[in-house]
Every structure is written in C-alpha cells, then in structure tokens.
Symmetry: C4
Subunit: 276 residues, 4 copies
C-alpha cells in the first residue's frame, strides 16, 4: 500500500514491539541477576504470549495488503503479467515475521526446536525485509530511494545483532541494541509516511532537491538518538523501580553479577579463583 | 552447460546433500546429548561415506562438463583463443567441492589433518563458487544476471557460517543454518533452470521486464522460507522419533544439555557452580 | 565550518582524546595485572572526569558550529529552504559524541546502565559520524571527496572495534587499536584542513589532479603508521616506567598474566590444570 | 617497478614466508600438544630470527624501489609535481611489512608490547597493502585492473584472519588459512608478472579481451587450490615425520589434544567433567 497508512501500519507494529522489548529485557535481566527460578515458568508463558502477538500482527498486515480495494486479492498473475507486485512483496515481508513468531511459539512451547533457532529465524526475517527493500526502490525518485535505503541500516544492523545472539544468547547489551534498532525502524516508517505522503493536506516534498536528501540523512541520525534515549531511560526506570521494590541490599553482588552477564570470561576467572 | 540439465544436475546435488544433512545433524545432536560414545566409530564411518559421495558427485559433474558433445574435452586453448571457458569455469566449481570431499575423507580416516580444516576447505569451495558466479554473469540480460546474483546470498552466507563453524564446531543452529542454505541453493538452481530454459515447450520469459525481476526477488524469499520449513520439520521429526524410540525420562537434563551446546559459556558457569 | 578552523577543532579533540587514551589504557592494564583493587575507586573517578571532558568538548563544538557569524543560529528552516545544513550536520556529529560522554558518566556514576552500553553508544557515535560523512561529500571535487572518504576507514574500523569491545571488554589490544584509530582521525582532520584550506597563504591544491589523489592515499598510510608508533611507544614508556616504579620481581608471573588478558581461554585451561 | 622483476621480488618474498610458515606452524602445533616446555626458549629465538628476516626483506624492497635507475632516489616532489608516485606507493607497502617485522622482534625480545599486538600490526600491514592496491589500479586497462583486484581477496581475507588471531591466538586452522593466503599471494604476484610483462619474448596478452579476464578469474581459483594443497601436504608431512621421530604411543590422547586446540570450549568441558 503505497500511501500513508501502508507505512503507519508496519511503523506502529515495530514501535509497539520495540517499546515492549525495552521493558521486557531489563525486567528479565533484573530477575536473572537474582536467580529467581520460580519466575521461569511465567516467563515462558509471557514469551509465548508475545510470540502469538508477533504472529497475529503480520497476518493482519498480509490480509490488509491483499484485500484492500486495490489489492491483488491473492491473484499472483493474470493475462501474462504480474498482479500488484508491490503488495505481494509487502505480504512476503509480513510472512517472514509471522514465520519468526511461529518459530518462537514452537521454541517456547513444544521445545522440539533447538535454542537459538528463534533468533536465527528472526535474523532471517529482518534480512529478507532488507533484501526486498534493496531491490524494491530501484527506478524511483532520489528522495524516495534515499529515505527507504536508510532503512537498510537498522535492518542489516539488527540482522548482525540477532545472528550474534544465536551464539551469545541473553546478552543484555545486544538485546538493548536490537530493541533500539526496532524502535528506530518504527519511527522511521512513520517518518517515511510523513515525507512521501504528507497527511493533513501539507505540501509535497521536492523529491529531487539535494537539500532535502541531506536533511533526511541528518533526521535519521536524530531518530536513532531518540530511539536510544527511549530504550535507555526505560531500562533505567525498570532498574530503579525493581530496586525500590525489593530493597536488595548487596551492592557489590550486583556489581559482580553485572560483570558476569556483560563478560562471561570474567565469571570463569572469578569462579576459578574462588576455588583456588 | 547453459541448458536445463546443466542447472538441474548441481541443483539435485545440493538438494540431496541438504536433505541428507537435515537428517544427519539432528540425529548427531540427539546422540551427543546422551553421550553415547559407542556410536563414535559408526559416525566416523558415516562421515567417510558421506565424504566419498560428496567427492564422486562433483567428479561426475566435471566429466559431464568436459565430455558433453559441445564440451572442451580437456582442451584449454586452441589457436590463440580459450576453448569453452564456461564449461571450464563450471568444472572449476565442481573441482573445489571434490577437494572439500577429499579433505573430509582425510580428516576422518587418516587424522593427519587438524579438526576444523574440513570446514575451512568447504567454506573455500563455497566462496570460490560465489567468486566465479560473480564474474561469470557480467554482460548478460538483466533477468539472467539478477537470478544468478541472488545465488550469491546463500553462497556467501554459507561461507560465513562455515568459517564460524571452524571456531564453534558442532553448534546445531549453525549446522541447521548451513543446511537451509544448501537446500535453498539446490531449489534455486532448479528455479534458474525453469526460468532461463523453460522445459516442456513453455514460453520464454522476457529477460528485460522489470516485473519479472521483482517477482524473482520475491520468489527467492519464498524458496528461502520453504527451505527453512523443510529443515525445521525434519529436525522436529527426528527429535520426535528419537524420543519415542528411547523413552528417555530426564526432561530437565535435556534442557541443560540444550543450553550447553547452544551457549558454551553457560556450561562453564553451570559446571563451576556445581563444584562450589 | 568549511574552513581550516572547522577541521582543526575536531582534529584537536580526537588527538587529545587519543593521546590521553594511549596513556590511560596501558596504565589501567598495568594495574589490572597486579590486582590492585584499591585503585578501583580512583579509576572510577578518573573515568567520570574523562567522560565529562568528552561531553564538554562536543558541546563547545556544537555552539561553535551554530553561533559563528555565518552559522544557522539554531534556525533549521526558513522560507521553504533548509538553513546551513552543513553546520547542522556537523552539530549532529558532535551531538552523538556528547551523548556518548553522557552515557559514560551515567555508567560509571549511577550504575543504572549495563556495562558495555558505554562502548555501544560510542560505537554508534563513530558510526553515525561515518554515515554522515559518507553522504556529506557527494557532489564535490574528486580530491575533496577522496580525502574525506579515507576518513571512513578509521571511523568504521573504530565502530567494529568498539562493537567487539562490548563482548570482549578490557582487551588491551583492542583498546590500543581504538586509540590508534582515534589518533589517526585527529591527525587526518588536520591534514584535511592543510590540504583543502591551505593556511599561511600557501598555494591551493589542484583538486582534480590524479597525482594528488595518489599522494593523499599514501599520505593516509603514513599517518596510520605514525599513529601506531605514537601509541606503541607510549605503551612501552608506561610499562617501562611502572616497572621501575614498583620493581616487581616475578618475571614469569607477568608472562602468565599477559596470556590471561590476551587470550582468556588459556587462563581457563591454566586454572583447570592447576586444580587437577 | 612496473616490470617483471617488480612483481617477482614481492612474489618470492611472500612465497618464501608462506612456505616457511607451512612448516613452522605444524611443528609448533606438534610441540604444543606434547607440552614440551623446554622448547619455548628455542621457539622464541626462532621467532626473532624469522622477524628479522621479515624486516630485512622489505627494507631491501624499499631500497630497490627507491634506487633503481628510474626510481625517485628519495625525492618526493620536484617543481610542483610528485616524483614517481608508483615507486613511493610500493615503498610504503614494504614499509608496513618492515614495521610488522620490527613489532614481532619487540614482542618476542623485550616483551614491553602486549601479546596480540604483533598480529594486529601484521593485519594492518596487509590491510594497507590492499587499500593502496585498491586505489592503485584505477585508470588502467581492464585485464590489468582485474588481475590486480583479485589480489584483494587474499589480502582482505588475511586481514580478517589476522584480526581474529588477536583474539583466538595459536589456532592452528587460522594459522594454516593465513599461510595458504600468503602462498597464494606469492604465486599470484608471479602470475601477474607473467601476464602483464611476458618474459622470454612471449607475445603480449590482449588487455581488453573478455575471454582473458574470464580465464584469469578461473586461474586465480586454481592458484588458491594449489596453495591449499601445498600447505596441507606440508602439514601432513610434518605430522607424519614427528610421529615417526618420537613414536608416541597414546593414540587417544592425541585425539583429545586435537580437540583442545581446535575448540577450546570442549577442553573446558572435558576438564570440568574430569573433576566431577
């Protein structure tokens, strides 16, 4: 859907997921530090709930792309030409995120899938979105092309981050980085909508002006900084809230625990030296 | 061999290897978890058998490329010009996979080669295939160029994955990722054959139509999703089958073991804390 | 500020930070080896002082970019066109480094942020500088474009190095590598100033001469070698100085310690074999 | 020196270093497995000897580039133009390898430099060679450009490998990979000499023929396979020779040791399980 709504819908999806993660990961990290194992079962349920939502959202997206009045209505080709390939490409992007959601459900419920597979499928979903966008925007005006190609940075960044999480699972810094990129993607989709399809009867942007392209590049940096601020303040808020809730006294213990998850080698050293 | 068979042959090779791996790796992973050491000798034999097949296949490919009626028949140059360079380049690709097979045989039989070398040579084989393809498709029609260059993603992805396996050997997620990329490569070779050389007297594709290029990009994503589904369902089937076969009771033990191979640092922590 | 001062200011900033790091990291490494824990509090204070300076500097840069006589004076757009986008882009670059400084202050003082986040934000700051530079220099004369794009190597190199430090914190070699790239960036900013805006009434460089471009490439390599020499001699001086200061006798212990921080796996082996 | 000798000299340098490494690394690996600590002192001396040679060679190269009859004789600029920039660029490449040699000498003799720095400086030397080559070959005939740019693969591959060795020191597979790339570089320099400056009065190659470019790409793959074969057979020969020399009986011990250095995580597991 090459209009404002077609960008606002995925933008809202990524924004909601990003904001939710910016609360979930600090909370999970807080509990991990205290080894509160009785929470594990609840977390597992929470993960499944999240995965279900991350599956339902993209399915709504697919249905919207297919059955809007000018959509393809599940017809792929007719009379020797392809029908509404743009909508089909968007559907494919949503499809991968639905697949990622389903993988998460299977990983946390049936446990027939190996741990880490959920991250790999999510990495694949993000990469495929990037791949489709890369070939998607050729033969368009410069500003359109530039504003979409800036999206490739959070996409391929998140791919790299998720691939790393396959190996370094539950690293809080990587998780916060991924969250930041997801929030950034969400706000940037909204920005694309506002620039390419100005709502409220605002004037169109000149799509060939070099000044506009330079401004958009800078604007992207500001979005990135904004996303980072949101994620870090949410992290600090959760930490602060949890500390007051439990009044945990052992300041040094927290320090060591922090080192543990931040840098696993140190832990090995610490444990080993304890035994000596 | 720039015809349908020339793409079906390597496609079938990669498809068979990929499907075999999608059964072998889950099975190996299942046995590793139970530390059934008496299986080691059988596995070693199995690996050698696989390596022999992965050596014989490419040799057949080389012979086919060289001795088809319009092939070079091992002549490289004649009268100041190169003879059938396309066939020679295909032969070179096969040659590297044969070399990878031979390295595997040597690693598992004579043990004079260091562990990890087998993965490195396979990474090199896949990279060289990518390198040759990259320079192979220049000066061709847009669709031909695009459909071949999409092959570079599974090729360079598999190179990165295999290089990582040199360091993180026997990581089930990486192995399943590699398997997915191999199956994807196999089905994509078949797709290339169907698009560029339509069999059964179907009409030719317009090689310059932008719609066709957009469809092919999307089609590549579907192949990728299909390959992932095949590999994951085979994994789940093997896990399910093994569980019923042995009725192993210790649910928690499996959980811990999973963590072990998924994230080796955790194991160190677990073991260390056991000793305290 | 597209003039000599506009390049000398950031050049001096990076040069000072780089030279300070070339003393700080060897010193910290020296103390780590001796496990002198009573230094920790002082180090924490030192880090905060450094972070404050790394915050104040960029704020001065932002003010300079905004309030020079021909600056935008915080006006972003006027009469349907953007005001002084160059100055705004420079301000954005400074803004990220200020954000990195503030993150460091928060990490070392309030400890609500997870360890490693400071490195991630710094990586992001350096990456954003690279991103802005990449799109910054289009539509310029060849020499101008080339001399600025060489800056991308230390920038993206430092991004990769800092991202790796998130996982491998306190690795002395990575820290020295980052220091080298920072010094290189500082001297290269000065070089850009001297080439594009020759001070002292020197003649202008021909911006289209291929010889000049070739010389500048080579000159970049020399800067890199120079930066490396500075960092390594500072490291050696600090080591030498510390050795004489404390007259630590245990030569072999230092050897083992070196291995420890250089390669954490070895330590695990050493510790493990000690216990056997 | 844009002639046959100018390519044969660096080619021989890399070939000799590569062949030497293909003997040294397997030998070192063999001794490491037996923990023969009394060899350490001898190894240190050997490393210094190697480093001296790796310093002297490039210095000879610099002198040759500067003082050949048509060289710059250390003059950089004269009458407002640069003197013999090609020779100066080659000198710069040699200079970095000399710097790498000196760093090695310092690392193994004075021990004021941290372990891993030697690998980092070598990575930098190889990267700078690649950077200079990348900008070196612009504005040349297609074949000249292609044959030189193929050199970038072993160069950037070796950079990545050396950078990884900073973290994963003494990994035999990485060392053999680096050795292979060094041998490949050596033989490829000779190949460039033979193609661009045919000796013995052979006819010139057509620098614009697409067939020649395709052949050269394939030829590069063959060189790569050849280099791999040389390195692996030298490894096998050394292993075989050492086994006969010492008649070490414990077959299984060797198996475990292999796992140790191939994959350090396994060792931790093995050791940890021994203690349980």
């Amino acid at each position: 859907m090459a209009n404002f709504k077609g960008h606002a819908l995925p933008g809202s999806f990524f924004l909601i997921v990003g904001l939710w993660w910016s609360l979930k990961f600090p909370l999970k990290y807080c509990h991990q530090k205290r080894k509160s194992n009785h929470m594990n079962h609840n977390y597992s349920r929470l993960e499944i709930a999240e995965a279900v939502i991350r599956t339902v959202f993209p399915i709504i997206g697919i249905l919207a792309e297919q059955f809007v009045p000018d959509g393809p209505h599940l017809h792929l080709s007719a009379d020797d030409h392809w029908v509404k390939l743009m909508n089909w490409q968007h559907s494919t992007m949503y499809l991968f995120f639905a697949a990622s959601g389903i993988t998460d459900i299977l990983t946390y419920s049936v446990t027939y899938l190996p741990l880490g597979m959920d991250r790999l499928v999510m990495a694949l979903a993000v990469f495929m979105e990037g791949l489709l966008f890369y070939f998607h925007v050729q033969n368009r005006p410069p500003l359109d092309q530039h504003i979409h190609s800036l999206l490739l940075f959070p996409l391929f960044g998140a791919t790299a981050c998720l691939f790393l999480e396959v190996i370094l699972r539950d690293n809080i810094v990587l998780e916060l980085f991924r969250t930041t990129l997801t929030v950034l993607q969400g706000t940037w989709f909204w920005q694309i909508g506002f620039v390419l399809f100005p709502p409220f009867g605002r004037p169109e942007w000149d799509q060939k002006d070099h000044g506009n392209i330079m401004f958009i590049t800078m604007c992207f940096c500001w979005h990135c900084l904004g996303a980072l601020c949101i994620v870090l303040s949410n992290y600090a808020l959760v930490q602060c809230f949890m500390k007051r809730l439990k009044k945990c006294s052992g300041g040094e213990i927290i320090g060591i625990q922090k080192l543990k998850s931040g840098h696993p080698y140190h832990t090995a050293l610490l444990n080993a030296s304890d035994e000596e």
